[in-house]
Symmetry: C2
């Protein structure tokens, strides 16, 4: 198998960090998203949606969607568990992963894509008002997360999970999106320091 | 356990249809979303994000996010399988579920929420231009889906899965969103007829 990879974009990073936490090595085939390589045949033939990453399996079939790719590796290599350890725990991790995705990463991405000049050919039409509407929503989620993190070490509980990966990447992404992290979110910043200090964060 | 339910809104329907397919009965506690009941304490104490549905467990803890609730029931009651039968199949079903969610249901919901007068107090600010930008994206996904359905019976393969539930609800939702389904999508309409004919579609 090989992973068609997209560099520093959020979704390719999600999968690489997941693999690093698992200690799994998969051959990477870099695609230059800055040069719109994800719109080329090398990606499109595997994923008509022209998104990265794409896991190409040995039979030539492809798996897309970062979380689906992660789930495949979670099942093949259960240790260390990053998606829960029993039915209720797995559901809770999925709940938190989705909350971080739909209520944080998506808000940050919307803020970025609808305002940043580099996205003008990606997000057509760019709607500045929509970017501005998403910024305070992302900040509101960060404030809520700060409260949630008062009594636990990681997003979904006392164990590092895929929810931490999604949330860390969303917080990283606030910088290019020009979203200020509200002052005084000490629990959040402590958590962020913890997850950024893991070797996987550089994957 | 009990399920805080939200009537005909897409997410509450997703979970009820999933339960109907499984033949699982869970006591429902209706919440009137039209009267903004999901902003009241009965929901907020379980889900600060004020979204429905919410599964309240016997220990008083809560599970939110439709797909996470579905996964919990999938693990407790594996038959009939609605989320895949082996690691690769589970990943493929998740891929299709997510494609239907992010590239169809979300586009339809954005079209609806940013234009419909009934959503003026829900989606603040409503941005008409964003609604209009999402309509052709939803139609493009429908065209692609029509091609995909040329050689298989259901969204993720030859078996009905959670991806069909998400997609069916998205297609249902095109009507209030005032999205015309492009002419000539015969495979899509055949599939839609099949899934709408299942007793679960009325749940």
């Amino acid at each position: 198998m090989k992973l068609l990879d997209g560099g520093q974009a959020p979704n390719p990073r999600r999968v690489r960090i997941f693999l690093a936490e698992k200690g799994i090595e998969v051959p990477l085939e870099p695609v230059d998203m800055g040069a719109l390589g994800h719109k080329e045949e090398v990606v499109t033939k595997h994923n008509p949606l022209q998104r990265l990453p794409v896991l190409v399996l040995d039979d030539g079939s492809a798996l897309t969607e970062s979380v689906a790719i992660c789930r495949y590796f979670e099942e093949l290599h259960p240790e260390p568990p990053l998606m829960g350890v029993d039915p209720l725990d797995r559901a809770r991790v999925e709940m938190w992963q989705r909350r971080m995705e739909m209520n944080l990463l998506l808000f940050v991405a919307n803020t970025f894509r609808h305002a940043h000049p580099a996205m003008a050919t990606w997000e057509v039409p760019q709607i500045k008002e929509f970017s501005e509407a998403n910024r305070p929503r992302a900040q509101e989620t960060l404030r809520w997360l700060n409260e949630e993190l008062a009594d636990r070490e990681f997003i979904a509980g006392d164990r590092y999970t895929i929810a931490d990966i999604t949330a860390m990447i969303a917080v990283d992404f606030t910088k290019p999106a020009r979203i200020d992290i509200p002052e005084g979110l000490d629990n959040l910043m402590d958590w962020y320091g913890r997850v950024k200090a893991r070797p996987s964060a550089k994957a």
